[in-house]
Symmetry: C2
Subunit: 466 residues, 2 copies
Amino acid sequence: MRLKTLFLLLTVSSFQFLFAQDFEKDSIFIRQIYDESLVNGESYENLRYLCKAIGHRLSGSEEAEEAVLWGKKVLDKMGLDRVELQAIEVPFWERGDVEKAYIQDIVPVELEISALGGSIGTNGVMGTRVIEVSSLDQLDSIGKDKIEGHFVFYNRPMDPRNISTFKSYGGCVDQRYWGAVKAAEFGAVGVFVRSMTLLENDEHPHTGSMAYKDGVTKIPAVALSTRSANLLHRYLQDQETINLQLELDCKMNPDKSSFNVIGEIKGSAYPDEIMVVGGHLDSWDIGEGAHDDGAGIVHSMEVLRILKALNYQPLHTVRVVLFMNEENGNMGGKSYARIAKRKNENHVLALESDRGGFVPRGFSVAGSEEQLELMRSVDELLKPYDLHFFEKGFGGVDISPLHDSANLVNPQLMMMGLVPDSQRYFDHHHSGTDVFENVNKRELELGCAAMTAAIYLMDNRLLKGN
Amino acid sequence: MRLKTLFLLLTVSSFQFLFAQDFEKDSIFIRQIYDESLVNGESYENLRYLCKAIGHRLSGSEEAEEAVLWGKKVLDKMGLDRVELQAIEVPFWERGDVEKAYIQDIVPVELEISALGGSIGTNGVMGTRVIEVSSLDQLDSIGKDKIEGHFVFYNRPMDPRNISTFKSYGGCVDQRYWGAVKAAEFGAVGVFVRSMTLLENDEHPHTGSMAYKDGVTKIPAVALSTRSANLLHRYLQDQETINLQLELDCKMNPDKSSFNVIGEIKGSAYPDEIMVVGGHLDSWDIGEGAHDDGAGIVHSMEVLRILKALNYQPLHTVRVVLFMNEENGNMGGKSYARIAKRKNENHVLALESDRGGFVPRGFSVAGSEEQLELMRSVDELLKPYDLHFFEKGFGGVDISPLHDSANLVNPQLMMMGLVPDSQRYFDHHHSGTDVFENVNKRELELGCAAMTAAIYLMDNRLLKGN
């Protein structure tokens, strides 16, 4: 055997030896993470408080401010190196007291509605004919003559065939977001949008954000429960002309002050390199924001609690951010990124949880092929925990401004999102059933552990000092 | 280039070409299977009927017989090649009207109980001291002197640390199954068993099967809700002596006649080679047997419906069996296997669904390394549907007698089980909450499609004529 060959063989085996050692050490630590979450976890009781004692918490509301103080209090108790409230400005929309819609039949037939977030009110009762369409484009072929002065009813359902329900949501949500703008351009006076849910006959309307556009008349917009959407559709099949009545007194108020809540453990080796985990503290103003995004909040807080409980001293600084105002403005995410840029903070990783508290499947990586491969290189360590999904994909709304060219400090910043199973997400999303009782304790705790394991693994594998 | 090399190259590329063609064909067909289940699926409405119109259906009950007739009716409508009722004998246990337990305090404190399936009654009210243990073995160290004449309370909880909740169940269920025999051997007069659930403070007792043993006195046995188990545990920490009262009038009746329900599509190429899919039609007598095993029943029926709907003519005979009496005797599974042996029926594959209607993760294969590899060889086709778990493991109780040496016709018989996510299974298992409302439509339909895809793929890949 030549010396060079011998040397090569020795090198390879030491590598393999070191790799095997690392694998075993990591494997043991990840097991401890899961044990801590499943045996001593605090995520479920934290979520109970957030949902049951505070409740829903739209930006600007009293509940949102309570949630800020609660978030700070929970982080304060963890013995972190730093806890901070980061002041921001948020929009403040209020639903008001009246929210009614009827089909004008011999006796009025009530429709289950929820004003879309940001909608203007009706200023009294509006009544006119309704025209059903299944897409924004369909308005072009119908034409202004027939639409002007009427309501538009967008009724394209979410496609049940996609395995990822987020894909079906993405294929439908243009109706909710742009529906009012497009209808107003054709002279419509208000819009009804079929709820973004895969439940085919659901009594709960699902609200959500919508846009207005400068120069286009603002018109009221509401979500219809799928049950009411089906009913209205049947009416429109039977009779050519159907009139609806609508009354809303929701309104947009002046902006208010609010906060992102920040806590961190300083890194021992790279204190200036930040790994951020987060979700959003605000929610829509119906239900309890349990999956969206109470789960992401308690997931993220639990990452730091578990690392502390296991006496893990991270190499990089691990920071949790409870972002405010994801639902209607993303002022928390935008402000956080702007301030980070101003301070020249070097973020190396941003991990968001905003897809519910369901059993985790894996992670999406919004970044380079190398970053995806880095995550995939640890899949054998995560496979025993039923994590199998490591694909390119969106990180999350709150963290995304960190990667905007205006804010980007470190081009190597790795963006990730927790990917829980998506099947039940849109059953509850933005509706009255997004409540604590619909979150399963073990599924939630497995999410916390998965997030913590990802942070631990990346803390040890990200290029040092980049 | 030598001719031989050219030939070799051509062969390899034709192979690759054929493989790619197969992959594409299979990929398209599997997509059709999923579309059929998610868009036109009948599993959810079938389950609704089974749960809501019939309800729970313990072997020997009127509801079990209704379920048999319903199962036959649904299969009859499918236009299969053969539908048959297979006569069997089943045990017939009845819970009776009285089921009460109290802690004897200043005022009696009621405990939430459910007699274990097969338990004898108390023949009036029994009252005596209770002794808490956390394992069967602990009785050995306590000794007969202290146990004789008393109740034993088995209180070891399911371990929350396992990712598969079935593993935690397996680590606990000895208390429920063997607890009465062991306690009776030490002279105890009755047993209380902590419910087999991971819910830590659940009001619902979870029943299940238990054993008696020839030569050992039969004593009454009940499940305690975990909430009541916790309460009793706290009492026993405060006071050394706690007396309980128990009254049950459950009883075992003579065996009754019942049926397995069988339907099949004849194979075009190998009609004498049978691929069987099944679940069990019976359930415990509380709740509605929605996950256990209504889901498995509608999963299995849907396999044949989907294949028919897509005009797929299987090479092998595809047979669905709705087994009776899995819960307390497995007489359906045993009888089916015995009759199959007598007829010398050649089963090439048996696939069971009896782990709930939750989102599917993959399949367990109880068989050879080659059979596991065969399933793994199609993982790229199933990965787009979030199926990732292909491991050695149990097939199912109903199909297992097919593989008993006494019944085995074909040593190559491949045994498989659908593996849904297990996190929520023991929240509902054998309790009052195993009802239709706790089954999610999409999760159920994805299970149907996964089962159908597995049958389709194996129909095309199992060695022909083995």
